[in-house]
């Protein structure tokens, strides 16, 4: 929170200090170092006490790919004009004389929205890397027992090379919907689906149903994917394209390889460890010919 309005900062601390960590800065420039280092969930900036140079700072912050996700609430004087959103790109505003209830609701709603509107992959609109990391790290830290899958498309690259990236994107958009709905149908509450990028997806469900979900996903994909090929390739059952070494060869119809890990028999401290194991298991599934899932059985 950047404000010299003591009445406002005291009220906000009283309202939210229990549930959230609040750090108060007296001017925006002093706050920047902290913002860049720890990416807050919410930034409240008092524009009554800041000059218009602050507009440019917020504008820069919001145009950044990482910091642009930080929700910014502007605090304005009673009759102060709210600048055009093109000049000052904020997410919401509060008037300095607003009553306690109003301030509470506005901030609550912004925090909830920041939680909900996560950074998404532009192709599939699924949560992206930062959210995936947060999801998994939070679950690890709160001691949840859960299983995580890393999903990857077999023979995606040759498909992309042969038909072009627009056709490849069609497949990824379809896969995004497919993972989301297959997972949600099996576990409507407490599951999670994210898109790492390219043809890599992750999802989280309860350990007991993970293999069932993975198998269903593989089957559903196998069932739908032929319609994404041209009729003649579909009939042949393979396509001709070039491999990573530039050699012409034939590639089968795409399938899914899924690597699974979970923390019921082993302990993970960090997102990175867990992601690495899942990715390893995915590579193992690929080595086994693809179109299958492999679950990490190691006890550590």
């Amino acid at each position: 929170m950047v404000s010299r309005d003591v009445a406002f900062t005291t009220m906000t601390e009283r309202l939210f200090g229990q549930k959230h960590k609040i750090i108060i800065f007296s001017n925006l420039n002093h706050a920047l170092d902290y913002i860049y280092n720890s990416i807050p969930d919410l930034l409240i900036v008092d524009f009554f006490h800041e000059n218009s140079a602050a507009y440019a700072v917020i504008s820069d912050l919001k145009s950044d790919s990482i910091f642009g996700q930080v929700t910014v609430i502007g605090l304005f004087g009673e009759s102060q004009e709210i600048p055009d959103n093109g000049i000052l790109p904020i997410d919401d505003y509060i008037r300095s004389l607003a009553d306690e209830k109003e301030v509470f609701s506005r901030i609550e709603i912004c925090l909830a929205r920041a939680d909900r509107v996560v950074e998404t992959n532009p192709l599939t609109r699924l949560p992206g890397n930062i959210t995936i990391l947060k999801q998994i790290q939070n679950r690890i830290e709160s001691g949840d027992i859960f299983a995580m899958s890393w999903v990857d498309v077999d023979y995606f690259k040759p498909f992309n090379d042969k038909y072009g990236f627009a056709r490849g994107d069609e497949v990824l958009k379809m896969l995004g919907r497919l993972v989301l709905n297959t997972v949600r149908q099996k576990q409507p509450v407490g599951s999670f689906v994210g898109h790492i990028g390219g043809d890599d997806f992750v999802f989280i469900v309860n350990h007991e149903i993970m293999e069932e979900v993975a198998q269903e996903l593989i089957d559903n994909f196998k069932n739908i994917i032929p319609t994404f090929y041209d009729a003649d390739d579909r009939a042949r059952g393979y396509i001709e394209s070039v491999d990573r070494e530039g050699v012409h060869r034939t590639f089968p119809i795409m399938g899914l390889s899924i690597g699974i890990t979970h923390n019921s028999d082993r302990c993970f401290k960090h997102y990175g460890e867990m992601a690495e194991v899942a990715s390893e298991m995915k590579k193992f599934a690929k080595m086994c010919g693809g179109c299958c899932f492999k679950t990490d059985q190691r006890v550590v």
Binding site: L123, D169, E170, V171, K173, M174, R177, L178, L180, N181, T182, R184, Q185, N220, N223, I224, T227, F228, A231
Partner: protein
């Protein structure tokens, strides 16, 4: 009205109404919180309008893979339960119900069931696609009678009075038939090319470029269902089989009697889907 203007009129149609009886059953299905996607799927697959609604949505540019999905079960898993529920809640019914419409519904369902039997017999790789195409083959009749109710009543009356086929009467009134009208709306709604083609050529399957066998199957099913006297497709008599279709399918007499037997048993189990007048 010239053909271009007619086409523009038809392409303006955003959504089709269904039968009051279907809506009653539909509400029962979606009000059940425990209903599975499979159950909803088999219900949707028994109604041409609900099927076209689902295919229209899943093939819309919003989802990013237009023209790819021709199967109801695949559409449902890609749309997800919440979207499907929402979609079905918005279904309306024909305000003026003609008896002939109920007959058309029964005819469409019968054709879909029969087409699936023949597709399986002929070893077609995607029998569901053929059955969906069969369910939708007369969607042009729904479209024309929705958009031009008075003219279409005239078409039906003409066909009966002059003893001509319904598509001949359509041609006189609209200068196109329901086959073209259906294919226009199917294209407009980004249905896969395969479906569009079968809808367009179900009366002259030999002219289809890439869906010869599938169009011929739907053509034969159409005629078999009429011959059985199931439902009402607008004609009082059964049209002749297109000779090209017969050559394309190459079905022996014993195969045909096998198909008819299987039809009898499948259709006797399909009573649930058929509406009748009691609804």
């Amino acid at each position: 009205m010239d053909i271009q203007a007619l086409r523009l009129q038809i392409e303006k149609i955003d959504t089709l109404p269904t039968m009051p009886g279907v809506l009653k059953k539909l509400l029962k299905v979606i009000e059940n919180p425990k209903v599975s996607l499979n159950e909803i799927g088999s219900f949707i697959s028994s109604d041409p309008v609900l099927t076209s609604r689902v295919l229209k949505l899943v093939n819309s540019p919003v989802y990013g893979f237009p023209g790819r999905i021709s199967s109801v079960s695949q559409a449902l898993i890609l749309l997800g339960m919440n979207v499907v529920r929402g979609l079905l809640l918005g279904v309306s019914v024909f305000e003026v119900m003609q008896k002939s419409m109920i007959g058309l519904w029964e005819h469409s369902i019968g054709t879909a069931i029969t087409a699936r039997i023949i597709a399986q017999q002929k070893g077609i790789p995607e029998p569901e696609e053929v059955s969906v195409a069969a369910l939708l083959h007369d969607i042009g009749k729904v479209v024309l009678s929705l958009k031009f109710p008075d003219e279409y009543a005239g078409v039906i009356a003409d066909a009966e009075k002059e003893g001509i086929f319904i598509f001949e009467a359509e041609k006189k009134h609209f200068s196109v038939t329901h086959a073209e009208a259906g294919s226009w709306i199917a294209q407009r709604w980004n249905f896969p090319r395969s479906l569009v083609e079968v809808i367009e050529y179900h009366h002259k399957p030999n002219l289809s470029k890439t869906m010869l066998v599938q169009s011929a199957i739907v053509h034969l099913s159409d005629i078999l269902v009429r011959a059985k006297g199931l439902g009402f497709a607008g004609d009082n008599f059964v049209p002749a089989l297109n000779s090209g279709a017969w050559q394309i399918l190459n079905i022996s007499e014993s195969e045909l009697s096998g198909i008819v037997l299987e039809m009898d048993s499948a259709l006797s189990h399909a009573d649930d889907f058929l509406l009748g007048e009691q609804d």
